[in-house]
Amino acid sequence: MIPVSHYIVVSLLLFTTGVIGVLTRRNVIIILMSIELILNAVNINLVAFSHYLGNLNGQIFAIFIITDAAAEAAVGLGIIIAFFRNRQTLQADEMDLLRW
């Protein structure tokens, strides 16, 4: 029987990796992938608590999070394609059309 804190530590490591990816990478596609990592870390947390509390509501929430991730990936990649068609770049710090 693995204690729930082990799962939380794995989830925290994945979450921090995703945060580092979002904050430091320049490629927008990799930033989106890092967001997927973060959502995945949250899912691990939910499923671990769902198992250890004997309550399936956490798994339902994980299903909804996966749904949101799919919607977010579809729209985000659509935006990336539209942006690439207009500006011929994928670097996040060159997306400064609305910058002050």
Partner: protein
């Protein structure tokens, strides 16, 4: 014993390939490592007796979302971006702050485990889900009884995302 070996294998694989997703240079390699990480997470779900989520993770994440990612990576040519600088100027500050965040979260977890003042976060597992049995059946019952309105809202969300993706993919926007 066996479940511990499986847990550490899947956890190590997930974290290692997660780190590689962020650090590797080529976006296609990054996507492949993300697939590995997601599959390892599916394995973690299996060690938690969440069989339905295991299958959903593989079909939806690996089979759906990641194919979309790789399709887009192939669609936009990244040959130019491959030779540019991959990390932005705030990298060191961001990395430092993320390490601080991780330390803080781990400290909170340690505090909760030690049962500090007002921190009884993790009660002993009263009834583990192993005794529930029939994971998919129970999720289906719960999803279509207690959570039927969020379920319908999720379908509307997917419809909106579908329309949004089509609009974004149009020739002139």
């Amino acid at each position: 014993m066996m479940d511990q070996v499986l847990f550490y294998f899947f956890a190590g694989l997930a974290v290692l390939s997660g780190v590689l997703v962020v650090t590797v240079r080529n976006a296609v390699h990054s996507a492949v490592f993300l697939i590995t990480s997601l599959l390892a997470t599916a394995g973690l779900y299996l060690t938690l007796n969440a069989e339905f989520l295991f299958v959903v993770q593989i079909i939806l994440y690996v089979g759906g979302i990641m194919v979309l990612f790789i399709f887009v990576i192939m669609l936009v040519n990244l040959d130019v971006a491959l030779h540019q600088v991959q990390f932005n100027r705030q990298t060191w500050v961001a990395g430092l702050l993320s390490i601080v965040l991780l330390t803080e979260l781990l400290a909170a977890l340690a505090l909760a485990r030690s049962g500090g003042p007002g921190m009884q976060l993790l009660p002993a597992p009263a009834a583990t889900a192993a005794s529930l049995g029939g994971n998919t059946e129970q999720i289906g019952m719960l999803l279509f009884q207690n959570y039927v309105i969020p379920f319908e809202l999720a379908s509307i969300l997917l419809l909106v995302a579908l329309v949004g993706a089509v609009v974004m993919g149009k020739k002139r926007i």
